[in-house]
């Protein structure tokens, strides 16, 4: 009995002490002060204090953990331990000066650090009596989508609710593209092309020009060999195909180029035609372009020579149609074969530059730091992009003179995507165009958010239309702007044909 007491009583006391201590520790590590002792980036604290969650009408403040952890009893502790471990690791093994706080505050990252459950915990009534009509419509949309199991979160629309951002736009961006650019030379005529040499296209009635480079046709091995590192099954079998000569844009279609299209064709907002017969429908042959976007399609990263993003496949196709019309040539999206032929520039490896694939990627915790010197010279990708698009001359060109084939933004191709597309190819096929029908289109080349594995030439991906329109509150959803895709753009092909002097 004595022995029992000797072991048992201190045991219980120790247990109580531990539980009490853990409780105290949880409390102590959940204060705003504790959070900001590590999260020293100034914008976190200041922007929080300027947000509606601090500067409230009622005088209460919403604290860090109330948004950045789930509610107590609904995963609070698990998430606290997870973020805690992550923070401890970052604190000891990383240099906070390297953190890209700007990128981390973007929606793409922010959704991982705020919890809808927590929003709903306080905002239990999504329909307060003073809610505006627009607010009511938006919350009805949220409720109906959430009930369907579609991932749409409060901060998809209320990104600035916890951390104030003066540039955040949460409305139809009617003024988009209206502000005129600096007075510059206005081109009256498109470029005249009579032979197969690279040329500078000039968009009539605009100050915009861009370079189109000659790609001399030939045969090459499409796809990757089975032993290529990081290879996916859809990249093979590696098959010899041929492409004819064509012109290809030196850079991905830039905002400057796209805005020329937008300025000359933009539609005037949405119209409802569900009551059809009661409205006059005029038939017009003119190309009707994109409607004003919602929010900022450039994500606030700037336009100019950065590639145009957030634009739909349909918008890209319409752009090509319009460009063909105003220049009298035949512009279109590249086929997958054309794209890869151009990207390879007569090389046959994983990249068009010399690099050991084994060394570009860090694999596992203890492998040596990846060697990124060469890849940084040619590709805008996850490790050097600050998680946003860059201007076209951020990198050097490939052997054909093309920039950003492998990074910056991924690019639409005209082929339908299937996993086994290359299996269907006949050897030495000339100008293959891919499967005759499908649901989503091929996209090639990595983007600012890709890993080194994903910026390999042979890497394939495809459009994800439903997902990329996930938070578009309009129905029918916009056919012009993706609400949830900022990493894809496109490059134009100009056909070498009778219109460009090839008789």
């Amino acid at each position: 009995m004595r022995k029992f007491c000797l072991i048992f009583v201190p045991g219980i006391l120790l247990g109580i002490l531990l539980i009490w201590g853990a409780g105290k520790a949880i409390e102590a590590t959940s204060t705003d002060k504790y959070c900001s002792s590590c999260h020293v980036h100034p914008q976190a604290n200041i922007s929080w204090k300027r947000s509606v969650h601090y500067d409230t009408g009622s005088g209460t403040h919403t604290h860090c953990v109330e948004c950045h952890l789930p509610p107590k009893g609904e995963g609070y502790l698990v998430q606290k331990i997870r973020t805690g471990l992550h923070d401890v690791y970052a604190h000891w093994f990383k240099d906070s000066a390297d953190f890209n706080w700007d990128a981390k505050s973007k929606l793409e990252n922010a959704v991982h650090h705020t919890f809808d459950l927590s929003c709903n915990k306080c905002h239990a009534n999504l329909f307060p009596i003073q809610l505006t009509k627009k607010g009511s419509d938006a919350h009805l949309y949220y409720v109906s989508q959430t009930e369907k199991g579609i991932d749409i979160q409060c901060i998809n629309c209320h990104l600035d609710a916890g951390h104030y951002d003066p540039n955040y736009t949460h409305e139809a961006n009617i003024g988009f593209g209206v502000a005129s650019s600096l007075p510059e030379e206005i081109f009256n005529e498109p470029a005249m092309v009579e032979e197969f040499i690279s040329f500078k296209e000039t968009i009539p009635n605009s100050s915009v020009s861009f370079k189109m480079l000659t790609i001399h046709g030939g045969k090459f091995m499409l796809g990757s060999p089975e032993d290529e590192l990081f290879r996916d099954d859809d990249e093979g079998p590696s098959t010899e195909v041929g492409v004819s000569s064509f012109f290809l844009g030196e850079i991905e279609v830039s905002w400057n180029e796209y805005m020329a299209f937008y300025a000359q064709t933009a539609g005037e907002g949405r119209s409802s035609d569900t009551e059809g017969v009661r409205k006059n429908t005029a038939n017009v042959d003119a190309i009707v372009g994109a409607t004003p976007p919602y929010g900022q399609p450039d994500q606030g990263w700037g336009k100019g020579q950065r590639p145009a993003i957030s634009i739909s496949y349909h918008a890209a196709e319409t752009y090509c149609k319009w460009l063909s019309q105003v220049t009298g040539k035949t512009y279109r999206l590249p086929t997958e074969a054309e794209w890869e032929y151009a990207a390879r520039g007569n090389t046959q490896g994983a990249y068009f530059f010399e690099v050991d694939p084994k060394k570009v990627m860090k694999k596992g915790l203890f492998s040596s730091k990846p060697d990124t010197t060469t890849i940084n010279t040619y590709v805008v990708y996850r490790e050097n992009s600050s998680l946003k698009t860059q201007e076209s001359d951020f990198v050097q060109a490939n052997p054909f003179g093309l920039k950003n084939m492998l990074g910056n933004v991924a690019e639409f191709c005209s082929d339908w995507y299937t996993v086994d597309a290359y299996k269907q190819l006949s050897t030495s096929a000339l100008n293959p165009k891919g499967p005759s029908s499908g649901e989503e289109h091929v996209i090639k080349g990595g983007s600012y958010r890709s890993s080194a594995a994903q910026v390999r030439i042979a890497n394939r991906d495809y459009t994800k239309t439903t997902d990329w329109l996930r938070t578009d509150p309009q129905i029918p959803k916009s056919i012009w702007w993706y609400s949830n895709c900022f990493h894809v753009g496109f490059r134009v092909v100009c056909e070498f044909n009778e219109k460009t002097g090839n008789n």
Binding site: P71, E74, L117, N120, K121, C122, A124, N125, L126, F127, P128, I129, L131, K133, S136, D137, H139, L140, Y141, V143, S144, T146, E147, K148, G149, I150, D232, D234, R270, S272, T274, E275, G276, V277, R278, Y417, V419, E439, E440, S450, Q454, D461, Y462, T466, P473, Q474, I475, P476
Partner: protein, 449 residues
């Protein structure tokens, strides 16, 4: 980042449908994570089965819309239990208001003071400024969204007649306002009275309990004769004429598929536990005398998982008629009202009507009174009920069918939820009415080339 094996629209839809079904089981899913103490749980089983509402402090009600149904609803309200009073009336047309005032006095000995009688398009605002507990809304459906919103903003419990809107914007507005009412713990009852009709409710319980398995499809009908109409009169300006003749104008009634047939569509919506998401249908105008509406519709509705619901409605004299529902299940069928049959026609269940000495059905409390009993019971026992969203969705369903018939095009629920379509004039005033009065014609005319 890549997710190649899942590139199949079908599998995606399958998952979405499953998630949708779960959503239906738990409509308050997203709120349920944190049932705040400020928000009352709202009951969705509407019928109390009480013959009389319990007694309690006097409930004062106001009536907005003093036509035949409004006057009827006011009397049904007074019949629902002890200590109930109509103390205010509002309408745009004086003789309608006076007739209602007189009827309430004669039939129910309910005196409405003159100073609480309001005339005009803003009469509802004056009525809502009074010290009221309940508002009964029975104006032409075009005005329902405005009146409902104002009533909830004024924190009143609401009875409102069906349909609750004539256009998609109106139906969406009702859905939002219903949610606001829910947040305030107000009760909202709608005039889709089958949900308060005891034989329907008992049948529903058996179907929901799985007596014939899952429902696989159905047909709903409101085929009847011509409804009433008014001819223009030199003493009436156009607005007054249209309002007096409201069941013949699209912008006021929503057309008869919305105004009348919504009852049967609501039964399907209720029994299926979901609403169709697509409609393709047709209709036409053969014998209607006034206004701009059709007088027949036939619509094929499709649910998210592919099940079909057919709907038929007509208002033409001298044709065969019938107002009923027929719902098919895996193991039988039901008329939704009082009988459930097996696959071979055998009776699985019948509503146990009480019989009198002559062996005839004795009947039960009229659903038109029952719905007010249920409303007053909810208020006095502080257990809110709210059928605003149900009736808004049933109304939207009817609107979706109508627009398909008008345009000849397939319409979808998502389009309906997001179109900016709104009917009616920009301002409400006596005088000429600035609306398109052409009868809708679907499709395109053939043009010689």
């Amino acid at each position: 980042m890549k997710n190649k094996p899942s590139l199949s629209r079908r599998s995606f839809l399958g998952r979405a449908a499953t998630a949708g079904a779960i959503g239906v089981v738990s409509p308050a899913l997203i709120h349920s994570c944190a049932p705040s103490k400020d928000i009352k749980d709202v009951k969705y089983d509407l019928c109390s089965f009480l013959d009389q509402a319990p007694d309690g402090p006097e409930l004062k009600a106001g009536l907005i819309g003093c036509g035949g149904r409004g006057t009827g609803a006011a009397q049904n309200f007074l019949d629902a239990g002890p200590n109930l009073k109509i103390i205010a009336l509002a309408d745009v047309i004086p003789d309608k208001l006076n007739a209602a005032k007189k009827k309430l006095k004669e039939n129910k000995n309910n005196e409405v003071p003159d100073e609480n009688c309001f005339i005009g398009f803003d009469a509802y605002e004056k009525l809502l400024a009074l010290d009221l507990d309940v508002v009964l809304i029975a104006t032409p459906p075009h005005f329902r969204p405005i009146h409902f919103e104002a009533a909830v903003q004024a924190r009143k419990h609401v009875f409102m007649e069906k349909p609750v809107a004539v256009d998609p914007q109106g139906a969406v507005s009702i859905m939002g306002t219903a949610k606001k009412a829910e947040g305030l713990g107000l009760s909202v009852v709608a005039g889709t009275q089958r949900r308060h009709q005891r034989n329907y409710v008992e049948t529903y319980k058996n179907i929901a309990g799985g007596m014939i398995g899952e429902l696989t499809g159905g047909n709903v009908y409101w085929n009847g004769g011509k409804l009433w109409h008014r001819n223009p009169n030199t003493q009436w300006n156009e607005m007054e004429y249209m309002i007096r003749n409201w069941v013949n104008w699209i912008w006021l009634s929503g057309d008869h598929i919305v105004e009348q047939h919504v009852h049967n569509l609501d039964v399907a919506h209720w029994f299926f536990g979901a609403h169709p998401v697509k409609a393709l249908g047709f209709g036409s105008r053969q014998r209607r005398v006034t206004g701009d509406q059709y007088d027949n519709f036939s619509i094929d509705f499709v649910f998210e998982d592919g099940r079909h619901l057919h709907s038929m409605c007509r208002q033409i004299n001298g044709c065969n008629g019938g107002v009923y529902e027929r719902l098919q299940g895996q193991n039988g069928s039901t008329n939704a009202k009082d009988i459930i049959n097996g696959l071979n026609g055998e009776t699985l269940w019948e509503y146990p009507y009480e019989l009198d000495e002559e062996g005839k059905h004795k009947g039960f409390l009229s659903p038109y009174v029952q719905e007010h009993v249920d409303l007053v019971n909810a208020i006095r026992t502080d257990t809110p009920i709210n059928e605003g969203e149900n009736v808004a969705k049933s109304t939207m369903l009817a609107i979706m069918g109508r627009i398909s018939a008008y345009t000849g095009k397939e319409t979808t629920w998502d389009e309906m939820m997001n179109t900016d379509l709104k009917l009616g004039p920009k301002v409400y005033a006596m005088g000429n009415v600035d609306v398109d009065k052409a009868v809708p014609i679907p499709g395109e005319a053939w043009k010689p080339k």
